[in-house]
């Protein structure tokens, strides 16, 4: 099986000419823990002589040290490459291995069997052409077998090898093999209509039916595994579909050249073809297919090219160039299937980033309609989606995108979801259909509550309560801070003693009772604003602890941030920007805080700002850091 061609030694040039044009098959091994996935890959590498002497030596040493096969070589150690995996004797993450025969080059992904590592299994499956589903002949079809069969077909694999392994441990019993195969067919009927299944009885450890058919299973007349892998068609089905290319990068080296670079998702394209740029729908003709090796007369699915168009039409990253005969659809609301891949469950109503093709948008994921039981493939009730759970739900986007249903085109119908705070990839999804065409009025399935309003603004609401003496610099700092928030695209509003007293509180004076009422009203307004999702900046002297405590109690936990603008009286009086201290000293103003009315400094403010020798900009930066560190500013 290895590159045993005599030409290597005799005429390398001729050999290379012959082998430069091999096809490439990508496959995965999957199935439950201990069904022999890693062993099978080790066997394939070993039998195809892809293991070098030095690797074999270290494998033999490791097998004796930590192997599970006694004195024999433990092939699993070849693929379990992480220290944690070797210590625990389990596969945690997908490993990629490479081998070639005289016919083909192979990339194999060995995927973990444990349910908790399903997302790593999905990673491997998502780029594979074929899946080898391993089954322990003694155990038959397990939940994890069904889960993996389900996920591989969900991710688009349509060729499945049902590898009934460890046949040596059941005396190569044909009945056992047939029962397992029948069991699986009954389940697979529900999976996908165009699924091709090849059952093979084998023993990866003993090398039965791996490279060639073995006598032990003389009742089996199908191919050995390698025969199958070498001959299964890899002809890209996407090639016969309609032409689509997501625009990945706009190529503009100078004013005379404007190209659209991308990898062709499906179909073929030639100069002269009529195309549309979606979602705008503007039509043009392909002028050139530009590559560094010269212009191409034709390009096909899978190639990375640069297209130029006959007309000056505007397309940017995230748009798609598609055939004008059968353009993609455009919408902003979809029914989707989602596989959740994060420890924190899906939060219905929360906004996630959604990446499809080269486009990233913001998506609100609604509560699931139902989950899917991987054992029975039936619907089960679901309020959310937990790690590794699969469900059907609807999503709405902040802008319309161009797409194909997933079953028609994986590249324009498959998406990932990214958490905006953690930046983790938390889910993968498939677009089933659009709920409506774009352009109608907007629609929201969820309640528009305070969380939704804050989510929409990409921030957490906060009430920044600036307290301090008159002339301490509260409004100046608040103003500097608000400019910064605005520049960051954050939504804020400033409530200032002066502006509120001219309107809402014009009926109030400066007696202690009026001061309390003043603060009560302002606190209520601030609460409404934080319910609206805003970051509210309140600059009031607010001299009494009790009133500030009252305001604090009105806000949601953690939303009230008391900022003591701590300017000593003599400094504030020296500044006396508005000339108020002078009037207070002369008795012209009564009940003036600090002079004729007390100021109760906060005991435990969230922030204390010393304004002596500090610019308002410095102070604003410090507050901004605080907001950032405490997650108020979003991702």
């Amino acid at each position: 099986m290895r590159l045993t061609d005599d030409l290597i030694a005799t005429d390398i040039g001729a050999y290379l000419e012959k082998h430069e044009n091999k096809s490439l098959l990508r496959f995965i091994t999957c199935g439950s823990v201990d069904d022999g996935k890693s062993t099978l890959i080790g066997r394939l590498l070993y039998d195809s002589k892809m293991i070098f002497e030095d690797q074999l030596a270290s494998l033999e040493a490791d097998s004796k040290k930590v192997g599970t096969q006694g004195e024999n070589i433990d092939f699993a150690l070849l693929v379990d490459g992480l220290a944690a995996e070797r210590e625990q004797g389990i596969t945690i993450d997908v490993a990629y291995r490479f081998f070639a025969t005289d016919k083909r080059k192979f990339i194999v992904a060995d995927t973990p069997g444990h349910e908790q590592y399903t997302r790593n299994m999905a990673t491997g499956a998502s780029t594979a052409d074929v899946a080898i589903l391993m089954i322990d002949a003694r155990k038959g079809i397990l939940t994890q077998t069904r889960r993996h069969a389900f996920i591989t077909t969900l991710l688009g694999i349509r060729r499945l090898v049902l590898a009934v392994n460890k046949m040596d441990l059941v005396d190569y019993d044909e009945t056992i093999f047939n029962d397992i195969v029948d069991d699986f067919y009954a389940f697979a009927d529900e999976l996908a209509t165009d699924l091709e299944i090849q059952p093979i009885p084998m023993s990866a450890l003993a090398g039965i039916n791996i490279t060639s058919r073995s006598d032990e299973t003389d009742w089996y007349d199908g191919p050995a595994l390698m025969e199958y892998l070498e001959n299964v068609p890899v002809g890209d089905k996407r090639r016969n579909a309609s032409f689509r290319m997501p625009v990945q990068w706009v190529n503009r080296p100078n004013l005379d050249f404007r190209g659209f670079s991308g990898q062709i998702a499906s179909g073929t394209v030639k100069p002269g073809d009529r195309v549309k740029s979606m979602p705008s729908g503007k039509q043009s003709t392909i002028a050139r297919i530009v590559t560094a090796d010269g212009d191409l007369p034709e390009a096909v699915a899978g190639q990375s090219v640069t297209l130029t168009l006959a007309d000056e039409i505007d397309a940017s990253r995230g748009d798609a160039i598609v055939t004008a005969d059968d353009p993609t659809e455009v919408s902003d609301q979809f029914q989707v299937r989602i596989l959740w891949m994060n420890e924190s469950p899906l939060l219905p109503g929360r906004r996630y980033l959604l990446k499809v093709g080269a486009k990233t948008v913001t998506a609100t994921v609604n509560a699931p309609k139902y989950g899917i039981d991987v054992n029975t493939l039936s619907d089960v009730p679901a309020k959310t989606l937990e790690l590794n759970q699969i469900g059907v739900t609807t999503i709405s986007l902040d802008q319309a995108i161009t797409f194909d249903p997933y079953d028609a085109n994986r590249n324009l119908g498959g998406f990932i979801l990214i958490d905006r705070m953690s930046n983790d990839t938390v889910g993968l999804g498939l677009i089933d259909f659009a709920l409506r065409r774009a352009s109608n009025i907007h629609w929201q399935a969820m309640d528009v509550d305070r969380d939704a309003l804050a989510e929409q603004k990409g921030q957490r609401p906060a009430v920044l309560w600036f307290t301090g003496l008159s002339g301490s610099g509260k409004s100046t700092i608040a103003n500097a801070l608000q400019k910064r928030l605005f520049a960051l695209g954050k939504h804020s509003f400033s409530l200032d003693g002066d502006n509120v007293r001219h309107g809402l509180n014009r009926d109030l004076g400066f007696t202690d009772a009026d001061r309390v009422e003043n603060i009560r009203r302002v606190a209520n307004v601030a609460k409404l604003m934080s319910d609206a999702g805003l970051i509210t900046l309140v600059s009031f002297i607010s001299p009494f602890r009790a009133e500030r405590q009252m305001a604090r109690n009105m806000m949601a936990d953690g939303e009230f941030i008391e900022i003591h603008v701590d300017t000593p009286l003599d400094v504030a009086e020296q500044r006396d920007v508005k000339g108020l201290y002078k009037k207070a000293r002369s008795g012209e103003i009564k009940n003036f805080t600090g002079i004729s009315s007390p100021y109760e400094a906060p005991e435990n403010p969230e922030l204390r700002i010393d304004t002596v020798d500090r610019s308002p900009d410095d102070a604003a930066e410090e507050i901004l850091d605080y907001l950032r560190e405490n997650g108020f500013l979003g991702a």
């Binding site: 990673t123 640069t306 080269a358």
Partner: protein
């Protein structure tokens, strides 16, 4: 209708990856090690953006112990391609006189390579760095994603790798974090050689066999490339027809006896050989999990 060969498919995938980084990452850089994999990676970058130039600079972390031929090749190539080239040297290490002969391979590699790389990434605040590593090189690389995330301290956490679904790469990071991107992840050593041959990519002549002065150091034949080699070692040099399967610091790069003077010879030799490529690298033989450990400490 054109049939895509395995090299075509690998090339298309790499072009997609390289463009994706340019489109989404704020401040990318291409790590250029002057070896054959870097040569292929640079060639792919030129193709990805043609007729534009790649919108990022090249960076070489120079340990000051690279083969002289590599440095000449590097400077000439960057100029020919019209690429900006950043060369970073750990000046602290230079001041302290760190080198493989005086400090051993582990200290030298850590100070002049790993620490130097971290210094450079911090200095220029690169948010994404292309590397030419392949999954067939080593067991922990076989487990690594194409887009591989590093904490603000440049650490790799193999237990927290993001799912990587289809060709949809999540490039989002928090301030201070960065991404290593490996466009050659799915290439094998043979693919690299076949591609170099098909595309006519120029590589450093050290890959081809020639008469070179070598000495045996710690069981490995290394080349006498300059006069920094300890005298009593250097004087044992003999002329041998050798070549190098990988290129790095000359005292840490084992030569193999060979008469392969053409690409076809090299490929033939490789196909008939019985040891893996990295065996010539002195740093990997310490312990089997050593690469994973190095990566967790910030090695590429």
């Amino acid at each position: 209708m054109p049939q895509l060969t395995h090299l075509d498919r690998l090339e298309a995938e790499s072009l997609h990856i390289i463009r994706e980084v340019a489109a989404e990452c704020e401040n990318p850089v291409m790590l250029y090690s002057v070896g054959k994999d870097s040569a292929v990676m640079l060639h792919l970058a030129m193709k990805a953006f043609y007729p534009s130039r790649p919108p990022f600079p090249l960076m070489h972390v120079d340990t000051t112990w690279k083969f002289r031929e590599m440095i000449e090749f590097r400077d000439r190539k960057a100029a020919e391609m019209g690429m900006d080239l950043i060369v970073h040297i750990n000046e602290d290490g230079v001041r302290e006189g760190v080198g493989p002969f005086s400090h051993g391979s582990a200290v030298h590699t850590d100070v002049m390579k790993t620490q130097a790389l971290k210094q450079a990434l911090d200095k220029y605040k690169f948010s994404a760095a292309f590397g030419g590593a392949r999954r067939d090189e080593e067991k922990s690389r076989a487990k690594e994603r194409i887009f591989s995330f590093r904490s603000a301290e440049h650490r790799w956490d193999p237990k927290r790798q993001r799912p990587e679904i289809w060709n949809l790469y999540n490039t989002r990071i928090h301030p201070g974090e960065s991404i290593r991107v490996f466009p050659l992840s799915n290439w094998t050593e043979l693919d690299i050689w076949q591609y170099i041959r098909r595309e006519g990519i120029e590589i450093v002549p050290l890959y081809f066999a020639a008469e070179r002065p070598v000495v045996n150091w710690n069981g490995v034949d290394i080349m006498v490339d300059d006069d920094r080699m300890p005298e009593d070692l250097a004087k044992t040099a003999i002329l041998k027809s050798v070549r190098f399967r990988t290129l790095g610091c000359y005292p840490l790069t084992g030569a193999v006896e060979s008469t392969a003077t053409t690409l076809d010879d090299i490929i033939q030799e490789m196909l008939l050989t019985t040891t893996s490529e990295r065996q010539g690298r002195v740093i990997d033989v310490d312990q089997s999990a050593s690469m994973e450990k190095k990566k967790q400490e910030g090695y590429f």
